[in-house]
Symmetry: C2
Subunit: 356 residues, 2 copies
């Protein structure tokens, strides 16, 4: 719903539009990873839990536990349909949590897997999801170590919901979090954007865009290791899932108090994604990804990091798409091909509900 | 559904009755913590994930991570109603996972909290659940460190589902797992049983049993610390939730290959629970608890451990209820007051769905 936000809004002072704020019930956008999700976090969860860790806005928490620096993250997966071109809920449930850990520089080690099953769902469906999780875990080098299963009555679920949590160790000397973005940082995306969202849209709406678009779901921890081998001084990593690149960059800009300037022509948008977005009236910057990361790195290391990404199977399409600037702190702008600029706002919700 | 199982069944060779096994869909009992849950774990999840950790049957996995011994556990909470005498889904979501960690002797440290919200649920309900979680976390000495929120359409959820995962450190020298039960062990329960299940039943069915019964939901890590202060050589700890004491004891008997013999008159069943169970035709041994533990300990330490429990706020009603024996390995029997014995089988599912 980015079009609902005027380009002149100051992101630092943005508030939820009054009609939604006055509506005292949960709406789909509260799960969309945009402004409504942030509001729920800031106004409900953070005060309730009474701690500052949650408000750090990172994909995973980095915690001291004994002598270890532990990364810890969780996500529930409610994507529909359960199976789509390029993957399934099971792949997302592993790769999504693995990637959240990797975005703090951690080496993912163990996952938990909790299923909420709807009475009457076929056991073969549960089996396919579980096998997809097992295969994805093996590919990502993690072990599913503990789990749970609950069953709810027909009409109180939707086949299969899975919640995974993950733990991993953060190497010494690595400190990757949104607050560390600083003016001058190079902004790199690891490959073409928008594939997951368009894949889901195409199967859900029965649309075809000339070629079948497959989700990009993939584990990114090994790609992160390749980047950290260039320099441990990576400032920010983020996997732009719900809300797309626009949501991730806005969160980083706000958390760090810097501005982000993108070059529109440098952003890798596959033709199929551009066509689908044109047809549907969407902006690729807001479309979800499940196998991409955006990195804020010192400018001196940018070329070498780009080369390392491009040499990796998950980073073949890596591109330098912009930089961090001191101007317009907290705001993301994009230079268009025509010499103008436009503001890229934090989306209100997600263009497409239940994308992951 | 314990009455469906003949007393002459050999638990070691028990299999799911043919009608259910041939039914290729998920039934409520798959989430009940009994034989159907075990079958799903053994036949679907363990092969899919391809590892032995999951089949250890403990409430939490104990993992090596760097130099740390980490306990890691997860549960989804789908209890209905969301609020009940003595607590709420929020209390269970914290105490349940804290207790699973504590049952491996770990000191619970951090929790994750993932919400699946149904579109249209009132934000005040979400807020009440979150505040209950915050208060329970503070009482248990843990921090909610990371979270997620997804929203599903009306009719695909039930207000609020919460999945928590937890991590904690296991102290050196502590090795608590079901396999360590051995003949001679004293079997101790930390207090009166059946309160949680009867509390849920009473509000859900609108029944009254003379006095209001409140759930026993409570964090047990501090009680475990008091037990470990007597001796680190505690063999097994278990919180008898879904499936009650019967399910927990059967799992321990099977995992260790020992028998368990209980003295019926020693088992602390409050009058209100006994009355409710009599009225409803249930066996208190199968009714869920959310603030009790059962401990298998060396007989020489039993008296001192009982005293330590009774001196603790969560263990005031602790009782020695039986012992571990070499006879009838894998089987739990109870000596009745009349001089006879009966087999206590693993339940098929849960007497009451969505108890936690």
């Amino acid at each position: 719903m980015p079009e609902q936000l005027a380009d002149t809004v100051d992101p630092a002072n943005w508030t939820c539009p009054a009609p939604l704020r006055d509506q005292p019930v949960v709406v789909m956008g509260h799960g969309g990873g945009g402004a409504l999700s942030a509001e729920l976090m800031e106004q409900v969860f953070a005060p309730a839990y009474g701690n500052a860790v949650l408000t750090g806005l990172a994909d995973s928490a980095v915690l001291e536990l004994g002598s270890a620096r532990l990364a810890f993250s969780t996500d529930s997966y409610v994507v529909r349909p359960l199976f789509f071109p390029g993957g399934s809920l099971g792949d997302l449930a592993v790769n999504g949590t693995v990637n959240d850990l990797a975005m703090s520089g951690a080496t993912p080690a163990y996952l938990s897997a909790a299923f909420i099953l709807e009475e009457g769902v076929e056991l073969t469906v549960v089996d396919r999801i579980a096998r997809a999780m097992g295969a994805a875990a093996e590919a990502a080098g993690v072990t599913v170590a503990t789990g749970d299963t609950k069953v709810v009555e027909t009409g109180h679920g939707d086949g299969v919901y899975v919640t995974t949590a993950g733990v991993g160790l953060v190497p010494d000397g690595v400190d990757i979090r949104p607050q560390r973005a600083r003016p001058g940082d190079a902004v790199i995306v690891s490959g073409p954007i928008g594939l997951h969202g368009v894949a889901i849209m195409s199967v859900r709406e029965g649309l075809e865009f000339g070629v079948e678009v497959s989700s990009d779901t993939a584990p990114l921890a090994d790609l992160v290791a390749a980047v950290l081998a260039v320099t441990p001084d990576v400032h920010v990593l983020r996997d732009p899932t719900r809300g797309g690149l626009a949501a991730s960059l806005n969160e980083i800009a706000r958390a760090s108090g810097t501005g982000v300037r993108l070059r529109e022509r440098a952003i890798p948008v596959p033709d199929a994604v551009a066509n689908a977005c044109g047809f549907l009236g969407l902006d690729p910057l807001y479309v979800a990804n499940e196998g991409r990361l955006v990195a804020f790195v010192p400018p001196a290391a940018a070329e070498e990091i780009l080369a390392a990404m491009r040499a990796h199977p998950q980073g073949g399409g890596a591109a330098l798409i912009g930089e961090c600037v001191a101007e317009h702190p907290g705001m993301v702008v994009v230079s268009t091909g025509l010499g103008g600029t436009r503001v890229v706002d934090l989306p209100l919700g997600e263009q497409l509900p239940r994308i992951c």
